[in-house]
Amino acid sequence: MQGSRTRGIMVLGSLVAAIGATGCGSEDTHVDDGHVHDSGVVTDSGAVTDSGAVTDSGAVSTEVTLRFAAKVGELPFRCGETFANVGTTGGQWSPADFRFYVHDVRVVTAAGEVPVALTQDGRWQHESVALLDFEDRTGRCSNGTAAMNAQVVGTLPAGTVGPITGVRFKLGVPFALNHANQALAPSPLNLSTLWWNWQGGYKFLRIDGQIMNPVRPAAADWFIHVGSTGCNGGASGGVTSCANPNRAEVELTGFDPARNTVVADLARLLSESDVRVTTAAPGCMSELGDPECPPVLRGLGIGDGATQNFFRME
């Protein structure tokens, strides 16, 4: 932020050389390289070499943008559309919501795991949490927000050496933020559609939809609400512990932020679910004993021996 500070910047997250400095103290220079770049590509005199080694002796930070996408198989998610062949029996799924929180975002380099400090934008990112939002309030997504967000933007510590060969993050809201008063929380933790008040926390993942060809028409909704369950309260009011935190750890190996996108694929998440049939609670809203939950939670990598298949990379 200070005019005298030099910053080595990663172009879209990869440790690309930013040689060819502009004047120190000038505003960040945005360079179009044909990719997504809300965050901008900033060049400056803090040299990052081709090999990714940071040579600048001053305070060097590197900006990284992780792109996300929501898909149903190969098709991009969009409110208002109907997606065929969802689940084990060819469900036709019409979306009503597709949002999730991530936190504790890290990238992997040769030196190991490196934390990403999220840019505090007052909208999509707060402390270590970011909200990914693929609904636009159209169609059945009428309880959502018109704005969408498909990226996580942050900064790597000074001296980080590339290349990036993987990304890791947790699905959900960290404990300390999950159980604070939602009415007082800053954005993006102040959206009532993602509050889970009776559980005293948030819906980490909310994918709502309607099954257009249900076996029993009366139960056509299919909701996926995942958050911490089995929580206990303390004397002063807050939640003290949750038996089922339900924060999924995700790792995508070989992920290069410059070239790859994190894809949240509903078709994969529901690949073991028969969405045309539902029991008392429509879909899986993390209720204990709901037979529709185990395959969904397994798909998120929650539970002993489970490996997540919801997130993949392209």
Partner: protein, 388 residues
């Protein structure tokens, strides 16, 4: 504030004389038509413990009263908090289970709000609901079940309030430090402060306790003895000034929150309750929490029928049958089972026998917990006069 509190302590009669102005203070003068809502503890009650960021003010309490009864606080503008929490029923609704603004059934019944500011846990069986301000978010924004149905519509709701000329005055007065007082948090704060004013402490039992020996009938006095006896054990869970064992006050040094399985069901012989509502287990997921519910206050219990979390007992007589049996037996149907044999049942539910006269006495005592002034106090009434 002090003048306000003193006026209230002196009694309602002063209200009619018209409140005096505040002698040049910044606060607007008290209008005679506006009630003096207070959280001043009555005799025998401790001061309430307030949320640290939500101190009492009369302006907040008045705003909260309007919001409590305002149907604009539901998605389709058909219900307010007061729809299910009706003053004449001690702020319950007379139904077995609640019905939301979108006609969705609630698995449990609305609880009385009498003395709700003293409850250490809120609602029937949720150990994580401890603060009125936060609990209000459940009926406002909850989706399973939908109650007031405002999920995703908080901006729309606040806009409705912002457009109202009365609220354009009331919100800034209630939250003078806020540049924009129209927030969800402030809505919950004002409602919580109004709820804290809902203090019931003037039943015949209270007057009797304060020394008016004519306040309770002979029969009710005998029932009083029975209620507080080790033979019936009622008071273990329904004791104290709030007639519940989950209480908190400004002087509380320790957490006093309890949930009990009373043997109301035993559908599988291992203690199970019907899946629609299994008590604390619904939140914690622990099997040992099956069937554990908070002991509701017994104040005004005669006007809050039907009883238990699911309204499954119609009368006080039926409730006494349940406890006298040491747990209810349901002979047939999907919920059949012998509650008396529920292995998770509280140790205090052992059963008792009563003579017909003793039963009448016990019911007379429970009826002596009805606070007619509370049920008809104009300070708590719907300021919209049901017009909205």
């Amino acid at each position: 504030m002090r003048a306000t509190a003193i006026r209230w302590l002196l009694g309602m009669s002063l209200l009619s004389s018209g409140a005096p102005g505040c002698g040049g203070e910044a606060t607007p003068p008290v209008e005679a038509a506006e009630p003096l809502l207070t959280i001043q503890p009555p005799a025998g009650f401790p001061p309430q413990r307030l949320a640290p960021d939500n101190p009492y003010s009369l302006e907040k309490a008045r705003l909260g009263r309007y919001l409590f009864y305002d149907r604009r606080l539901s998605g389709n503008e058909t219900q307010s908090c007061g729809s299910c929490h009706q003053q004449s029923r001690a702020f319950s609704d007379g139904r077995a289970t609640g019905l939301g603004s979108t006609r969705e059934d609630h698995p449990r019944g609305p609880m009385s709000l009498a003395n709700v500011g003293y409850f250490s846990a809120l609602t029937w069986a949720n150990p994580v609901q401890r603060e009125l301000e936060r609990q209000a978010l459940v009926p406002l924004f909850g989706e399973r079940p939908v109650e007031l149905g405002l999920v995703g519509r908080e901006a729309e709701m606040l806009d409705r309030l912002r457009r109202d000329r009365r609220y354009q005055q009331m919100f800034p007065r209630a939250f003078p430090a806020d540049a924009d007082p129209f927030t969800v948090a402030n809505v919950t704060r004002a409602i919580a402060i109004f709820e804290r004013t809902l203090v019931s402490a003037d039943s015949p039992f209270d007057r009797f306790s304060r020394g008016d020996t004519t306040a309770m009938s002979e029969s009710a006095q005998r029932g009083n003895q029975l209620f507080f006896s080790e033979r019936l054990e009622c008071f273990h869970c329904h004791g104290g000034y709030a007639f519940t064992d989950s209480v908190v006050s400004a002087s509380s040094a320790f957490d006093e929150t309890a949930f009990h399985n009373t043997g109301l069901y035993n559908v599988d012989g291992r203690g199970a309750y019907p899946s629609a509502s299994t008590g604390v287990r619904d939140v914690t997921g622990r099997d040992e929490d099956m069937g554990r519910f908070r002991a509701p206050t017994l104040r005004n219990i005669a006007v809050t029928a039907p009883y238990m979390h699911d309204g499954s007992i119609a009368t006080l007589d039926g409730v006494i049958d349940h406890y006298a049996a040491g747990g209810r037996t349901i002979a047939s149907g999907p919920n059949a089972g012998v509650g008396r044999d529920n292995p998770l049942k509280s140790g205090f539910i052992t059963g008792f026998t009563l003579t017909a006269q003793e039963r009448r006495d016990l019911i007379a005592f429970l009826e002596a917990l009805t606070d007619e002034r509370f049920l008809h106090d104009p300070r708590y009434a719907d300021p919209f006069g049901n017009e909205r």
